[in-house]
C-alpha cells in the first residue's frame, strides 16, 4: 500500500521511499525513511495535499508524492 491510500487517522510503517532526485532526498531528510511510523492526520479542504505526523512533528506533502512511499498499515490493537 502507498501512503496516499492510507485512510485518515490510520498509522503505518514506511517500507520503502521511492521517487527520485530532489523530492526523494527531501523526504529522506525530513525523516521519512524505512521503519518510521507515520500517521495520516487529514487531507486539505480541496482533497490534496495531506497532513501526516511522524517523529513527533507534523508535515504536509502532496498525494502524488505520497504515492511514491510504500507503507505497511499498522494492525488495530
Amino acid at each position: 500500500m502507498t501512503l496516499d491510500k492510507l485512510p485518515i487517522g490510520k498509522s503505518a510503517v514506511i517500507i520503502a521511499v521511492g521517487g527520485e532526485g530532489n523530492l526523494r532526498c527531501q523526504l529522506l531528510d525530513m525523516g521519512l525513511i524505512p521503519h518510521t511510523e507515520v500517521t495520516v492526520r487529514k487531507a486539505a479542504p480541496l482533497g490534496d495535499p495531506i497532513e501526516i505526523s511522524l517523529r513527533g512533528y507534523t508535515m504536509t506533502l502532496r498525494k502524488d508524492d505520497a504515492s511514491k512511499i510504500e507503507v505497511r498499515p499498522k494492525e488495530e490493537v
Partner: protein, 669 residues
C-alpha cells in the same frame, strides 16, 4: 570573529538571532542568487559578527538553501557554528546537526524551546547528549532570553580554542560504516586539498553530490573504487545510497534520543495546534476563515489604519511642502529650482512615501501570520489551486497582496523557500491589478460604461488573473522548466509571535523601502520632472505644454499605440507618468487636457471610443508596474538586466493583449 547561525526552519533561529544582536543589521544577498543572509554585530562582543543563514533541514546540494549554507561554511570559514535545535522536535533537528558536525568546524548546539519541553514534563540529559555528539550543548529558550548569555560565552570560547567536534563517526559497524571508511581513505588527499574533512567529503561523494565530486578532482580509478564500495553497501544494506546514509544518521539519533530525552508523546502545544486546526484547516471552514482573515488584514491595511496613516503622512508632507514653498517664494529662489524642489522632489518622493504606512501595517499582520504558523496552513489549504500553474500554496498570500499593492507583495515573496518559486511569483504579482489602478478604471468606466462599472472592473481583475495564469504556464515551460521544488513542508505548532521579531520585520521592510524611496525612486522623480518641465532646447515650459520633452516623447510613442486605437499623445504621455505611480495617469490626463477630474470623463470621450477605451484599460491593467514596484523587483532579482527584461516583457504582454482585445472588440461593437 564570525559566527554562523544554522538551524531548521521553525527552530526559533530568527528569535535567537534577534536576541544575540543589536539593531545594526545588514541584509545582503549571496552572490548570484537571491538567498539573503543577515549579518549583525553580536551584542556585548566587539568585532564579533553573527551571520544568519537560511533555515534548512539538510545540507544536500540539490536544495538551493542547503547548498548556500554548505558553501558558506566551506568557503567563508566562519570561526564557529551555532546550531539551533528545537528540543520539542529533536529527532528531525539533529539530522542537520550530524551533517554539520562532519564539516569539522568549532560548533555549539543551542537546544532551544527547553521551557516548552519542560512545561510538558520532558527533559534532556544535556551532559550525556553533549558527550554523545562530541560538541558542547547549551539549553536555551530564545523567546524568553534564557541561557542566551551562557550560549554566546561558550560559543566565543569554543571559537577561540578552535575546539572541533570530538567525533565525526556516527555509524555502528556494518556495511554503511565500511563503505564510508573505504571512501574516506580514497578521498583523503583530495579532501585535504580543498580544505574539507575527509569524512565529510566521503559522505557527500556517497550521496552523489556532484559539486563536491567535481571539486575533489578524483581520478577514474578512484571513482571506480568508490562506486564499487557504494554498490557493495547498497547490496548488503538493501538500501540505496541516499536512504542508507539517512538511515544511518536517523538510527544514531534514535539511539541518542532514547538515552537522553524524556518526552511526552503529545505536548500541550501539539494538542492546542490540533484543536486550532480543527477550525483553520477544517474541510468546510478553512477557506471561509482564510477569506475572513485576509479580508480583515486588507481592510485594516487599506482602509482603517494604513490608509489613515497614509492620509496623515500625506497631510504632513503637504504641510511641509507648503511651508517650504512659501519660504522659497519669500526667499525669491529661481523659479525653475523652486519648481524642481516643490513639483519634482517633494511631490514625487512625497507620493511614494505615502506607501510607507501601508507597507508597515501590512507587514505587521504578515509577520504575525508567519510567526504564528498560519502561513504554512494557508499553503496547505491553497496548494491545489496553485499547483496547476507550477507553483505551490506558499505563493498564494504574496499574490493576494498584489491586489492591494505590488510593492509589499513582491517583498513578501522573501518567505518562499525556493528561489524558483520566489522569482516566478514575483513575475506574476504585477498581473494582479493593484489598488492604485482603481482611479484609472473609475474614470474610464464613468466615461464609457456608465452603470456597468462593477462588471467592467470585475472583468479587468479576472483578465489580469487570466493573463497571469497564461504567463505562469508559459514561464513554467520555458524559463522555469525543470523540476519544481517539491512541496514537502513542515506544519509547525502554533506559537505566540514574538513582539521583537514582528517589529524587526516591520522595521526591515520599512527601512528597505525608505532607502529606495530616496535613491532610485528619487532619481526617477527628478528625471520625470525634468522631462515634464523642459522643452528640447532646455527652456522651461508650463506643465501642460505640448512642447515639453515628455509631450514630445508622448507624440513620438503615439504611433506605437495606433494599432490599439489610442494614438493621442496625451494618453501616451499619461502612461509614461504612470511609471511614477498609477494614480498619475489620471492626474496627468487632467493637466494635459486642461480639465478637472470631474470633467475628465467627458473630455476623454473626445479622444477615445468605447472600443479604444477597452484596449486602453487593458493596457493600463497589464503594462509595467510603477517605479516603486520596479525598484522592489530589482532588489529581489538582484539584477538590472533581468529587471529591464521584466519591464519590457510586461509592456509587450500588455500591448499584445490590448491589441487582441481591440481586434475582438471591433468584431463585437
Amino acid at each position: 570573529m564570525v559566527i554562523a547561525l544554522v538551524g531548521n526552519q521553525n527552530s526559533g533561529k530568527t528569535t535567537l538571532f534577534n536576541q544575540l544582536t543589536g539593531s545594526n543589521q545588514h541584509v545582503g544577498n549571496f552572490p548570484g542568487i537571491t538567498v539573503e543572509h543577515i549579518v549583525s554585530d553580536i551584542r556585548g562582543y566587539k568585532n564579533s559578527k553573527l551571520v544568519d543563514l537560511p533555515g534548512i533541514y539538510s545540507i544536500r546540494s540539490n536544495s538551493g538553501e542547503g547548498m548556500v549554507t554548505r558553501n558558506y561554511i566551506i568557503d567563508e570559514k566562519p570561526d564557529a557554528i551555532i546550531n539551533i535545535v528545537d528540543a520539542t522536535n529533536i529527532e528531525r533537528n539533529l539530522y542537520l546537526t550530524l551533517q554539520l558536525i562532519e564539516l569539522g568546524k568549532p560548533m555549539v548546539l543551542a537546544l532551544n524551546m527547553m521551557d516548552e519541553l519542560q512545561g510538558n514534563h520532558g527533559s534532556v540529559d544535556i551532559n550525556l547528549l553533549s558527550e554523545r555528539l562530541g560538541i558542547p550543548v547549551v539549553p536555551i529558550s530564545a523567546a524568553k532570553n534564557d541561557g542566551v548569555d551562557e550560549l554566546i560565552q561558550l560559543v566565543i570560547e569554543t571559537a577561540n580554542k578552535k575546539q572541533k567536534p570530538r567525533r565525526i563517526d556516527f555509524c555502528s559497524a556494518g556495511p554503511v560504516h565500511r563503505c564510508i571508511h573505504t571512501v574516506s581513505h580514497v578521498v583523503e588527499d583530495h579532501a585535504e586539498n580543498i580544505g574539507v574533512p575527509s569524512r565529510f567529503a566521503a559522505t557527500r561523494v556517497i550521496e552523489a553530490d556532484e559539486d563536491i565530486i567535481k571539486a575533489l578532482r578524483l581520478s577514474d580509478n578512484e571513482l571506480e573504487l568508490i562506486e564499487h564500495a557504494v554498490v557493495e553497501m547498497e547490496t548488503e544494506s538493501v538500501l540505496d545510497r541516499n536512504a542508507a546514509l539517512a538511515d544511518m544518521r536517523y538510527r544514531f539519533i534514535e539511539a541518542v534520543c532514547m538515552e537522553t530525552v524524556v518526552k511526552s508523546s503529545e505536548s500541550k502545544e501539539q494538542q492546542r495546534s490540533i484543536n486550532i486546526d480543527r477550525v483553520l484547516t477544517n474541510k468546510y471552514l478553512a477557506i471561509p476563515t482564510f477569506i475572513a482573515i485576509m479580508g480583515f488584514v486588507f481592510w485594516m491595511t487599506f482602509d482603517v489604519i494604513g490608509q489613515r496613516l497614509s492620509d496623515w503622512l500625506a497631510m504632513g508632507i503637504d504641510w511641509i511642502t507648503l511651508s517650504v514653498d512659501t519660504a522659497l517664494t519669500a526667499y525669491g529662489l529661481n523659479p525653475t529650482v523652486h519648481s524642481l524642489v516643490i513639483d519634482g522632489v517633494f511631490a514625487g518622493v512625497g507620493s511614494i512615501l505615502s506607501f510607507l504606512p501601508i507597507i508597515i501595517v501590512l507587514f505587521f499582520f504578515l509577520a504575525i501570520l508567519e510567526d504564528t504558523g498560519y502561513m504554512s496552513r494557508v499553503a496547505f489549504v491553497m496548494d491545489k489551486l496553485l499547483r496547476k500553474i507550477g507553483l505551490s500554496g506558499r505563493s498564494f498570500v504574496p499574490m493576494l497582496i498584489g491586489f492591494g499593492c505590488s510593492v509589499p507583495a513582491i517583498m513578501a515573496t522573501r518567505t518562499l523557500p525556493s528561489e524558483r518559486d520566489r522569482k516566478m511569483t514575483l513575475l506574476l504579482i504585477p498581473f494582479m491589478s493593484c489598488s492604485a489602478k482603481i482611479p484609472i478604471y473609475a474614470v474610464l468606466t464613468a466615461a464609457f460604461f456608465p452603470n456597468k462599472g462593477g462588471i467592467v472592473m470585475t472583468l479587468l481583475y479576472l483578465g489580469g488573473i487570466s493573463v497571469g495564469i497564461i504567463a505562469a504556464k508559459i514561464l513554467s515551460k520555458t524559463v522555469f522548466s525543470g523540476n519544481p521544488v517539491p512541496f514537502v513542508m513542515e506544519l509547525p505548532n502554533y506559537r505566540m509571535p514574538s513582539a521583537k521579531s514582528v517589529l524587526m520585520l516591520m522595521w526591515e521592510k520599512a527601512w528597505d523601502f525608505i532607502q529606495r524611496a530616496f535613491t532610485i525612486i528619487f532619481v526617477a522623480t527628478v528625471i520625470l520632472w525634468f522631462l515634464q518641465h523642459f522643452d528640447v532646447k532646455f527652456n522651461v515650459v508650463p506643465s501642460d505644454s505640448t512642447t515639453s520633452i515628455l509631450s514630445i516623447l508622448g507624440m513620438w510613442m503615439a504611433p506605437v499605440f495606433a494599432p490599439l486605437g489610442f494614438a493621442d499623445w496625451r494618453l501616451c504621455t499619461s502612461l509614461v507618468t504612470g511609471l511614477m505611480s498609477k494614480e498619475a495617469v489620471i492626474s496627468t490626463l487632467g493637466v494635459l487636457m486642461n480639465v478637472g477630474t470631474d470633467a475628465l470623463s467627458t473630455a476623454l470621450q473626445g479622444i477615445l471610443t468605447t472600443r479604444s477605451a477597452i484596449s486602453f484599460l487593458v493596457f493600463a491593467l497589464l503594462y509595467t508596474p510603477c517605479v516603486a514596484a520596479i525598484s522592489t523587483i530589482k532588489k529581489e532579482l538582484d539584477s538590472t538586466v533581468k529587471t529591464v527584461g521584466v519591464v519590457v516583457g510586461q509592456c509587450c504582454v500588455a500591448w499584445l493583449t490590448a491589441y487582441i482585445v481591440y481586434v475582438l472588440a471591433g468584431m463585437i461593437i
